[in-house]
């Protein structure tokens, strides 16, 4: 009943804030799971939280109207790459990282460098202006496969072919590396 009485602009405003709320939730989930990946001693649990991290970033992609990229993120990252990582973890049977590790100095240095990098990046974000007014409408069909394919096979045709060559080279290299015994 309320939805019938409220004007259309208020409904639109409510929709925008709903998308933003989902974006905030997905972002916080991504940050927390990323922290768990980095901090946890058990690599298997880290790999599982990496899946959560990649899926929440995929949700952010979808909320930013990059639908095809969200699908690719789930397929390639959360599907292929994490499965590869978990396979190697299983094959090598590496559980917990040994105690000890680097000294306090190295840890403090890493924390300082990480914080400095975050500050520099946030400063860069603050100074960024997209050069257009907010509130403009999105291009028709933004983020769909057809628009992406058109750009990929016209403007970016040669880079695309080079990437396919790089993938073949990486596959051959990975097979060769994993097959041969390295000599001491």
């Amino acid at each position: 009943m309320d939805a019938l009485l409220t004007p259309a602009c208020c409904v639109a405003l409510a929709a925008i804030t709903a998308v933003e709320a989902k974006l905030y939730i997905a972002g916080i989930v991504a940050l927390v799971s990323g922290l768990v990946v980095v901090m946890h001693r058990n690599s298997v649990i880290g790999a599982l939280f990496l899946v959560l991290n990649l899926l929440s970033v995929a949700v952010m992609f979808a909320l930013l109207d990059a639908y095809f990229m969200a699908v690719l993120q789930v397929l390639i990252y959360a599907g292929a790459i994490v499965v590869l990582i978990i396979f190697v973890l299983m094959l090598l049977n590496v559980g917990r990282e040994p105690r000890g590790g680097p000294g306090l100095g190295v840890r403090l240095m890493a924390l300082l460098l990480g914080l400095a990098m975050v500050f520099a990046l946030v400063r860069a974000v603050r100074s960024f202006t997209p050069g257009s007014e907010d509130g403009g409408v999105l291009t028709e069909g933004y983020g769909t496969v057809s628009q992406l394919g058109e750009a990929l096979f016209n403007q970016y045709f040669y880079p695309f072919e080079v990437v396919s060559l790089a993938l073949v080279a990486a596959m051959a290299g990975a097979v060769l590396l994993a097959k041969r015994y390295l000599e001491d």
């Binding site: 990496l50 990059a66 990282e97 990480g114 975050v118 409408v137 790089a166 993938l167 041969r180």
Partner: protein, 107 residues
């Protein structure tokens, strides 16, 4: 710039910092590879967020950012395959994935 775009860019910056925090002090080579994936992912998030607010053809949204993300995804897949193959080969040589043991290239 809208609140959502700023939020996404800040999340991407902090995710990149988290990835740095994983690469520098950890000892497990596989954890370091996972942290590198987080950093690549943070870059992808920034590209997607910015490409949405840039002016394109007939409205907002430049698709070029998505093309770059596709390339980064392909290179990340290649990097993961080669990196894990190297970890596997080194494990057969040294029986460890601890980078304190794998210091062949250190002076």
């Amino acid at each position: 710039m809208s609140e959502a775009t700023t939020f996404c860019l800040i999340v991407s910056a902090v995710l990149f910092g988290i990835g740095t925090l994983g690469v520098l002090p950890r000892r497990s080579a596989i954890t370091i590879l996972m942290s590198i994936e987080i950093m690549l992912n943070a870059g992808n998030l920034a590209l997607i967020a910015v490409s949405r607010v840039l002016p394109g053809q007939g409205g907002l949204g430049l698709v070029d950012g998505h093309v770059f993300v596709l390339f980064v995804l392909a290179i990340a897949a290649a990097e993961a395959a080669v990196g894990l193959a190297i970890v596997l080969a080194l494990y057969r040589l040294k029986r460890s994935t601890d980078i304190e043991v794998l210091r062949l290239l250190r002076w």
